[in-house]
Amino acid sequence: MENANVVNNRERLPSDLQQIVTVAKYDVLKHLRSKRLLGLIILEALLLGLTFGLPIVLGADAAEDPADYMSAFIGWADILIVIGATMFAGDAIVSEFQSRTGYLLFPNPVKRSSIFIGKYLSTLGIIALMLVIYYGVAALLTFVMTGGGTVLALYSMLFACVYGAAAAALGFLISSIFKGSTGSLVLTFFALLMILPLIAQLLPIGEIKPWFMLTFCGSVISYIMIEPYPVDAMDSIPIGNGEFMTYWSYYPEVWLSLAVLAVYVVVSLGLGMYLFKRREMVS
């Protein structure tokens, strides 16, 4: 009688928090063993190498100010975040349904919300790791070339992590809606790379400051390297016959952008989790 010494499976069930940690731990393992992370690290190496090496090869003058020099590297950070959010969040939820691993995971005594949060935390961890590596190497190269560093790079990295969290949350929301991984990945990528930036570019034409747009807020990553921090200004360009067209140059405010990104995280995750909990495992 095999079950004579049966352990009380109910009593030893871990708490929701412990299960979140377990899901996150094994999801991190997935990322660490994936070709996607390797590909992204290779991309980081390429960007760092090109940004560092190309001016040397071309004999161009390099900036002597550490903040200016570092800005060249940081200019690539938002694209890395877009790619990272796409690769690690874009199909995080839908893949459980499409690849049928949900049939293994869902009949276990673990809440869908715990699975969702655990997966999100692992994605967040991997994006943060990716950014720390990138900024770390960039700071090292900056030190090599300028003999100094800047605390602004640290602020930029922290903000990049928050932007990464918001972009990943949006990816999770899209992943909770879509039925297929490809569609989810493509929409996440184009939403972050083209659709949202395009809207943020068009709104100022109507003199609307796009302070609420995710990608506009994300541009703090680069602007934070500028001292003093830029403020909104009206500019004009000549359009002929001595006439000028005036337009506004809008810049995201740091604290407001931080708050907006936090709202993106909360709303996207809340909606995504709601959809994930309601989603049925059908063939």
Partner: protein, 312 residues
């Protein structure tokens, strides 16, 4: 003792009004191995998915060990091992890592899941693969691993959804061997299948459903007793010739027969064991030189078909 799995008025209506499960009532007795039988589209998998919290019921309720799956799925599923459809595994994990992961979600330490995992992988004949990533495993290997993970915490309730579906003959035999081992354990098993011989071979109880409704439920032995018509396969040393046909038809209980080969035929027969014994004597008296005389495993099929036909 209350049935470990109880289903009351379970209904699932999909978009478009398709009623996959229709007020299903089901009780799986403690320590029984219940076959959940029905044709394709009968509602077996939908019912099992609701019981394992993968689908939401339109109405009704399912209880496992007295806990509502709808109200408290985490507690209800704590003592359940399940294999639903053919699950896919995380390709980046090895079988042992998979068991560690699922064990950790259920509160097992790495040491516990390693020890238990070794035994289970041995049982499902995957020991030599325990450190290989699951990505390249065959469907049969994945199905065996799925059964292993279902047994990981020694749950008192095991739910299996067509565990031999899609497997090659060798895979089916291997999984069926594991199912037979389950019969010896102190567990309650609900196993859906449309393979009648499989159910008759391994199950103690059976529930028949069609169009989402329960048609009949009971022990396999009791249900087989209900089947009056039996099919008896006979092999002989001498052929059954036309001049013997009338004499064979006149034997009490014989309802008809079909010649299946030069030296074999099948008899539709109604009667208990004593009547079967008399039939055998008559066949010998015909000079057929009977080599084998056995009731075919299709009795359940007769009941199944008649109930399915009645329900239409």
């Amino acid at each position: 003792m209350d049935a470990p799995i109880q289903v009351h008025g379970l209904t699932k209506v999909y978009g478009g009004g398709f009623r996959a499960v229709d007020a299903l009532e089901l009780n799986v007795p403690s320590r029984s191995f219940m076959g959940f039988l029905g044709p394709n589209g009968a509602g077996k998998t939908t019912s099992i998915k609701i019981i394992t919290n993968m689908l939401t019921a339109t109405s009704g309720e399912a209880f496992i060990n007295g806990v509502s799956v709808m109200r408290d799925p985490k507690t209800a599923l704590a003592d359940v091992g399940a294999v639903v459809e053919t699950p896919e595994f995380y390709p980046y994990l090895t079988p042992m890592e998979t068991l560690h992961y699922l064990g950790a979600l259920r509160g097992m330490s790495v040491g516990e899941s390693t020890n238990r995992g070794r035994d289970l992988l041995d049982m499902v004949k995957l020991t030599e693969w325990k450190d290989q990533r699951v990505g390249k495993f065959s469907k049969g290997m994945k199905q065996r691993l799925a059964i292993a993970q279902a047994l990981l915490t020694q749950p008192s309730v095991i739910i299996l959804d067509e565990p031999t579906s899609g497997l090659d003959p060798r895979g089916m035999v291997e999984v069926r061997d594991i199912l037979k081992q389950l019969r010896k354990m102190d567990v309650t098993v609900l196993m859906s299948s449309h393979l009648l011989n499989e159910v008759q071979e391994v199950c103690t109880d059976v529930s028949l459903i069609n169009r989402g409704k329960l048609l009949r439920s009971g022990s396999v032995a009791d249900l087989l007793d209900e089947v009056k018509a039996r099919k008896i396969e006979v092999k002989t040393m001498r052929p059954l010739t036309p001049d013997m046909f009338d004499r064979l038809r006149s034997v009490p209980g014989v309802k008809g027969f079909v010649v299946t080969g030069d030296l074999s035929f099948a008899i539709d027969f109604e009667g208990e064991e004593d009547a079967q014994a008399r039939l055998l004597i008559e066949l010998q008296n015909l000079g057929l030189m009977v080599v084998s005389f056995k009731e075919s495993g299709l009795a359940l099929e007769s009941l199944y078909m008649s109930l399915i036909m009645e329900s239409r």
